[in-house]
Amino acid sequence: MPVLEPIIELGRGLFTTLRSMFEKPVTVQYPEERKPVKPRFRGRHVLKRYENGLEKCIGCALCAAACPADAIFVESSENSDEKRFSPGERYASTYEINMLRCIYCGFCEDACPTEAIVLGDQYELSFTDRKQAIYPKDMLLEAVAASQLLTPQKTEPGKFTRSVPEMKDPQD
């Protein structure tokens, strides 16, 4: 009967909401339960190292130039074989990212000639002070497994002359 249709529709609506009460909640109980991030997730930056512990970053400041939010500050210094931070001539003696300015666009990643800076999967950034939002190099730099891998290292002369390594196409 078409006349009763609105009433039937009303009942169907009520039934739908009642039925959804018995579905499993979709809520993720966040601090205890975390969803893994997607492979291309852009979280907090990480400064990568080579396997021998040398920093990939050569202090070229291309990332700072590419950054649309002007969030990166790089200052470079000379490497020497006595105190070697990275292959090649120079390394970043200061490297700071202001996480409040950063828009997590990933341009720095793209600009880097050595794949030194990578946006990782860390997304829990909270500060109680503006100053805390500036992450200096030691917070960004990847941790090392053993203390002999720490930089600066003493290296044999003439071995690390090339600052930009041979690279494959990126995978993911």
Binding site: V3, E5, P6, I7, G13, L14, L18, S20, P25, T27
Partner: protein
């Protein structure tokens, strides 16, 4: 009136107000949990075990929030409006019985009933208090010196006045059925048969009209966020807002208690428990428990409707109230009275004519609704 009876009133009133205030707090929790489950979420579960301390956390938050007084508000009314809104919500249930008349505990040589005030015009008291509630809202809207608040208050008045007619007339059907306006008599008249069975359409009208009376969705026009910011309480903050909020939820509780009392047998047991140990005649202490269960279920109904139906358009709201509900409830009063008269004069079986004919009247109303809605669609096309 002796000193002891005044003391009794004070104590019972105090206890009942405390119950209502606690009930308000946990009704917000209940609503949030139930709504969350309907929306396939979990709802508040952090503060305390199962989130049970959430209402307390909310209360503390509200107490410490800043109180604002709009620059050109009417200071006195702005201050009084929340109180005027809350008071009727708290006092309206004073006449509702929570247990049979027979259950009295003798204390200091006095007989104490399960009811704050046993007055013989109980249902009229409820109707009059229900209409006072609108003052607080319209004053809150007017004194805030804010256009949105004002519009919210006005809408609320118009809506309440329109739906009060249907509400009042569905009360009349109950009065006719129970042959009394005293609340205990109304409950006792439902001993064998709840009025919900005898007057199903009246019950539906009552439930719809109460939704409009307490400004619950789908009739929450006074606080339609999309149009009016927060409606009449846009300018309120802190404890004053808490009072308005409290009034809203206490009205929900009160109206559910009243609905339970006049249509669902009040403190009387469920029909399948008659003549067992669970009957209130044998175990009077179960009366409040039954009221609680019924109110719990009715409140779930309100939350369920809120989770399901979108807000209806203002002109439809008015048209529905005046063109459908009012004539229908008038017809029901007439039908009920006729049925009772025939049952008394001719044959008691005519009593069963009441629900049948009422359902037919309800069907006609649905037909009318269908027609008016269709005609509007054509007019716009």
């Amino acid at each position: 009136m002796t000193f002891a009876s005044i003391l009794e009133w004070l104590i019972k009133g105090f206890v009942w107000v405390m119950i209502l205030l606690g009930g308000f707090a946990y009704l917000t929790y209940y609503e949030r949990r139930a709504l969350a489950r309907i929306q396939v979420r979990i709802g508040p579960n952090r503060a305390g075990p199962l989130g049970l301390l959430q209402p307390i956390a909310d209360a503390i938050k509200l107490i410490f929030k800043e109180e604002l007084m709009p620059a050109r508000a009417d200071k006195l009314l702005f201050f009084l409006a929340p109180i005027i809104t809350l008071t009727p919500a708290l006092v309206i249930t004073a006449v509702v019985p929570f247990g049979p008349e027979g259950l009295n505990f003798p204390l200091f040589g006095r007989v104490i009933t399960w009811q704050i005030a046993d007055i013989n015009v109980g249902i009229l008291y409820i109707m009059s208090i229900a209409s006072i509630a609108v003052y607080g809202i319209v004053l809150a809207g007017w004194s805030s010196n804010n256009k949105y608040a004002m519009l919210g208050g006005l809408r609320s008045t118009a809506q309440m006045i329109s739906y009060e007619l249907a509400l009042g007339l569905s009360f009349v059907s109950v009065i006719v059925l129970a042959d009394s306006t005293r609340m205990i008599d109304i409950v006792e008249a439902q001993k064998s048969m709840w009025f919900m069975v005898l007057q199903p359409v009246g019950m539906v009208i009552f439930l719809i009209a109460t939704l409009a009376e307490v400004n619950r969705s789908p009739f929450d026009m006074p606080e339609a966020e999309q149009e009016l910011a927060a409606g009449y309480h846009s300018e309120y903050g802190g404890m004053k807002f808490a009072l308005l909020f409290m009034a809203e939820y206490d009205k929900m509780i009160a109206i559910c208690i009243i609905a339970a009392t006049i249509f669902f047998g009040g403190y009387r047991e469920f029909w399948f428990l008659q003549n067992t140990w669970f009957s209130v005649d044998q175990t009077p202490i179960l009366g409040p428990v039954y009221v609680f269960i019924k109110v719990f279920i009715l409140l779930f109904g309100m939350i369920w409707v809120r989770a399901t139906l979108p807000r209806i358009r203002y002109d439809r709201l008015m048209a529905f109230g005046w063109k459908i509900l009012l004539p229908l409830s008038l017809a029901l009063v007439f039908l009920t009275a006729t049925g009772i008269l025939l049952a008394q004069e001719v044959n008691p079986l005519f009593m069963w004519g009441i629900p049948v004919v009422s359902l037919a009247a309800g069907f006609i109303a649905i037909l009318g609704m269908y027609q008016t809605l269709r005609r509007k669609e054509h007019a716009r096309a």
